[in-house]
C-alpha cells in the first residue's frame, strides 16, 4: 500500500523545486489532492490529456504541484478559462479546483452558468467555510453565527449549500464528500470526471487555522470529527426524522442526470451551419 502511494507520488507530483507546498500542517487540501490523484490513476488517463485549472486561494496552488497541463487563473474565473480550453480542444479532460469563496462569491455567476451550460467539465470545490489564504474572512459558506476576522461579533449572513445550488443550476452530476470520508471522495471525484457533462464535487474540508481556531475547533482532528458526526449519507437522510437533520449535511451523489452536453450540441450547430 505504502509503496503504491509512493509510486503515485513519483508519477504525478512535480519533483523540481515545488515543495514544500504552501498549505498548513493538517490542511484538508492534501487529502483532496490525494483523492484526485487516485481518481486519475483509476481512470487511467494520460497526463498529457489532463488540464488541471484553479482560481485564487489555498486551493489555487494545487495545480502547481501536479504534473499535468496546469493553470492558475484569476480569482473566481477558473471555470471561464476551462470553458475556453475545453471548447478549443474537446479531447482534453478539464478539471477545475476551487475554494468556496472562489467558486460561489466572486465566481458565483460563472459557477451557475457553467452548470446551466452543461459543458463537460469537472469542478471540485473545496469548502472550508472561510477565506483561508487572506486570513480568515467570512465566505458565502461561513455558517450563520460563526466567528471570522470580518464578522468579529458573529456572522449574520446565511450560508450557501454549494451542492444544492449546483443541482438547482442544472449540473449533470453533483456530489458532496468530506475529507474525513477519504475513500468515498476518491470515488466521487472519479465518477465526476467520468461523467459527460458538467459535474460538481463539493468537498467539506478543514481550515482549522483560520476557521476552526475561531470556532472552537482549533485542530485538524476536532474538525475531521465534526465532519464525521455531521455528515449524513444521502440514502440514510431520507429515512431520518427531519428534526435530527437541522445541523447535518448530506454526503453522496445528489444528482446524476444525462442531458445533452454542449460539445455534442455544438457539433450539430457546425453541421447545420455548413449545410447549403
Amino acid at each position: 500500500m505504502i509503496s503504491g502511494m509512493t509510486e503515485l507520488r513519483h508519477k504525478y507530483l512535480r519533483h523540481h523545486k515545488k515543495f514544500p507546498h504552501v498549505w498548513c500542517p493538517g490542511c484538508g487540501n492534501g487529502i483532496v489532492l490525494g483523492a484526485f490523484i487516485r481518481a486519475i490513476e483509476r481512470l487511467n488517463l494520460k497526463k498529457d490529456d489532463i488540464v488541471f485549472a484553479s482560481g485564487i486561494g489555498c486551493s489555487g496552488r494545487m495545480p502547481t504541484y501536479v504534473d499535468f497541463n496546469t493553470l492558475h487563473t484569476t480569482h473566481g474565473r477558473a471555470l471561464t478559462f476551462a470553458t475556453g480550453i475545453k471548447l478549443a480542444k474537446p479531447s482534453l479532460n478539464v478539471i477545475v479546483v476551487m475554494g468556496d469563496g472562489d467558486a460561489t462569491a466572486i465566481g458565483g455567476n460563472h459557477f451557475i452558468h457553467a452548470a446551466r451550460r452543461n459543458l463537460d467539465l469537472t469542478a471540485v470545490i473545496i469548502n472550508n467555510q472561510i477565506y483561508g489564504m487572506t486570513g480568515g474572512q467570512a465566505s458565502p459558506t461561513t455558517p450563520y453565527g460563526a466567528q471570522s476576522t470580518t464578522s468579529p461579533f458573529s456572522n449574520i449572513e446565511h450560508a450557501f449549500s454549494i451542492a444544492e445550488l449546483a443541482v438547482a443550476a442544472g449540473a449533470s452530476f453533483v456530489a458532496r464528500g468530506t475529507v474525513y470520508h477519504a475513500a468515498q471522495l476518491d470515488k466521487l471525484i472519479e465518477k465526476g470526471i467520468r461523467k459527460k457533462g458538467f459535474s460538481v464535487i463539493e468537498v467539506m474540508s478543514n481550515c482549522h487555522v483560520q476557521f476552526g481556531r475561531r470556532n472552537e475547533m482549533g485542530d485538524p482532528v476536532t474538525m475531521l470529527k465534526w465532519f464525521k458526526d455531521h455528515a449524513v449519507s444521502k440514502d440514510d437522510g431520507s429515512s431520518l426524522p427531519p428534526d435530527s437533520l437541522h445541523d447535518k449535511f448530506t454526503v453522496g451523489i445528489l444528482a446524476d442526470e444525462d442531458k445533452p452536453n454542449y460539445i455534442e450540441a455544438y457539433k450539430e450547430i457546425r453541421e447545420k451551419s455548413q449545410r447549403n
Binding site: 515545488k18 493553470l71 480550453i85 451551419s273 455548413q274
Partner: protein, 391 residues
C-alpha cells in the same frame, strides 16, 4: 441593429474571398478575424459591438470554429485566454462597460503572455454613458487599464477596410509577440457600411505563434531568447507546463526571487521595443511640405482627411498623420514631423488623451493644439478645418 439580414445570411453561405460587399465596420472585423485564423470567439452582448458577436456566431461554425456567448465580459476574456492557451487564435469584442470588466483578465493575458485580440468599440462614457454614440474616451484605459506595469499593443481603426486589415494585423502582432492586442473602434466606424472587397486568402499575410521544437523535457515556456518571445506550446500537445498569473520563473512556476522577476519584466518590455519597426503603424497624407499637421485616429481621422484636403484647396500647407498604432506610441514618426511643422493639431472625441502623448514627445519642437469634443458627436471636417485656419 440586426447585423445579419436575410440577404446577408444567404450570401455568407458562399465563398466570401474576392467578392465585394457592403459591410459594417463590425462585420468587417469579424471577417478580418476569420481571415487571420481566429477560430474561437467568446462575447457578451453590448451596444455598439454586438454585431461582431452576431456575425461570429454565424460564421465560426462554418469554418469549424467555436462561438460562445458567455455570462459576462469577465468570463468572455477568460474563455478567450483559455482557448488561446489550447492553441486556438481567439478574440472577444465589447464596448466601454465591458472593457472595464475585462481589465482583470487582460492583465492575466499580459502576465502569461497569451496572444488574444480584444476589440473595444468605444461609446460615450463613463459608466453606461451614451450607448449609441461615438467617443474616444477609452484610449488611456486601453493602455493602462489593467493594474501593474505592463506592455500592451493598442491599434485603432477608421474605416471598414481597416476594420478588416487592422484586425488581421492585430492577430499577427499578438501571435508574434505573445501579447494581448487591443483594437479600438468607435460607434461611427463600427456601424458605418462601406463597400469592401474581401481579399483573397493568398493575399492576406497571416502570422502564427512559434511552437517549441525541443523535446518536452527541455521546454521552458518563459525562457528568454534573442527576440524575447519564447515559443508557446498549446495545452495537450505533450509539453506539460504551468501557467500562472503570479510572477513566475522561466519554467512558469511562481517565484519571489528579484533576479527572476526583473528578468521577466524587462523581457516583457524589450520584446515590444524590439518590434517597434513593425508595431508602430501610421498613415500619412500630404505631410512632405506640411506646416500644419493634424494627428488623428479612429473615425476622427476621416474628418481630418477631409479637413486637410479642404485646407490644401485653400492653399494652406496642411498634412495628416493617422495613428493606427496608439501604443506603443509612434514617437519617432511624430517627432520627425514636429521638426518640420509650425503647429500640430490633435482633434479627439475626449478631453485630450493622445494629445498628452503628443505633448510628452514634443520637446519644444512645435506648438501642440488640441481640439476636443465630448458630446457624443463625431468631430466634423469643418471644425478641424476651422482649427487649421486659426493658426
Amino acid at each position: 441593429m440586426n447585423a445579419i439580414q436575410t440577404g446577408e445570411k444567404r450570401r455568407m453561405k458562399h465563398e466570401l474571398n474576392g467578392k465585394k460587399f457592403l459591410l459594417q465596420g463590425n462585420e468587417a472585423m469579424a471577417e478580418g478575424a476569420i481571415a487571420a485564423g481566429c477560430r474561437f470567439f467568446a462575447g457578451y452582448p453590448i451596444t455598439p459591438a454586438s454585431e461582431i458577436s452576431e456575425r461570429m456566431s454565424y460564421r465560426l461554425p462554418q469554418v469549424d470554429g467555436t462561438f460562445i456567448q458567455m455570462e459576462d465580459e469577465i468570463s468572455s476574456l477568460g474563455a478567450v485566454i483559455g482557448a488561446s492557451l489550447a492553441g486556438v487564435k481567439s478574440m472577444t469584442a465589447t464596448s466601454g462597460p465591458g472593457f472595464s470588466l475585462m481589465q482583470e483578465n487582460l492583465g492575466y493575458a499580459c502576465m502569461t503572455e497569451t496572444p488574444c485580440v480584444v476589440v473595444n468599440v468605444m461609446r460615450g462614457g463613463p459608466s453606461t454613458g451614451l450607448p449609441t454614440s461615438p467617443a474616444q474616451g477609452d484610449v488611456l484605459q486601453a493602455r493602462w487599464g489593467t493594474h501593474g506595469d505592463h506592455p500592451v499593443i493598442v491599434l485603432s481603426v477608421s474605416s471598414v477596410s481597416e476594420c478588416f486589415s487592422i484586425t488581421v494585423t492585430a492577430f499577427n502582432l499578438s501571435e508574434k509577440y505573445r501579447v494581448p492586442v487591443v483594437v479600438l473602434s468607435d460607434e461611427v466606424v463600427a456601424h458605418s457600411r462601406e463597400t469592401f472587397t474581401i481579399p483573397t486568402a493568398d493575399s492576406i499575410e497571416v502570422a502564427d505563434r512559434i511552437v517549441p521544437n525541443v523535446p518536452p523535457e527541455w521546454y521552458k515556456p518563459y525562457e528568454d531568447n534573442s527576440r524575447g518571445v519564447p515559443p508557446m506550446a498549446p495545452m495537450g500537445d505533450g509539453y506539460r507546463h504551468h501557467v500562472t498569473g503570479l510572477a513566475h520563473d522561466a519554467r512558469g512556476f511562481p517565484t519571489e526571487r528579484p533576479d527572476e522577476i526583473e528578468a521577466f519584466s524587462n523581457r516583457q518590455f524589450r520584446k515590444i521595443t524590439n518590434g517597434f519597426f513593425e508595431i508602430q503603424i501610421t498613415k500619412k497624407l500630404t505631410v512632405e511640405d506640411a506646416e500644419i499637421v493634424v494627428i488623428a485616429y479612429g473615425s476622427v481621422a476621416r474628418s481630418a482627411r477631409r479637413a486637410v484636403a479642404m485646407a490644401r484647396s485653400q492653399g494652406i500647407k496642411a498634412g495628416l498623420i493617422q495613428l493606427v498604432t496608439l501604443f506603443p506610441f509612434p514617437k519617432n514618426t511624430v517627432v520627425n514631423l514636429m521638426r518640420q511643422c509650425k503647429a500640430v493639431i490633435v482633434p479627439e472625441m475626449n478631453m485630450g488623451q493622445i494629445s498628452r502623448e503628443v505633448k510628452r514627445v514634443n520637446t519644444g519642437l512645435t506648438e501642440v493644439y488640441k481640439y476636443n469634443r465630448i458630446d457624443g458627436k463625431l468631430i466634423t471636417p469643418m471644425e478641424i478645418f476651422e482649427e487649421i485656419q486659426k493658426i
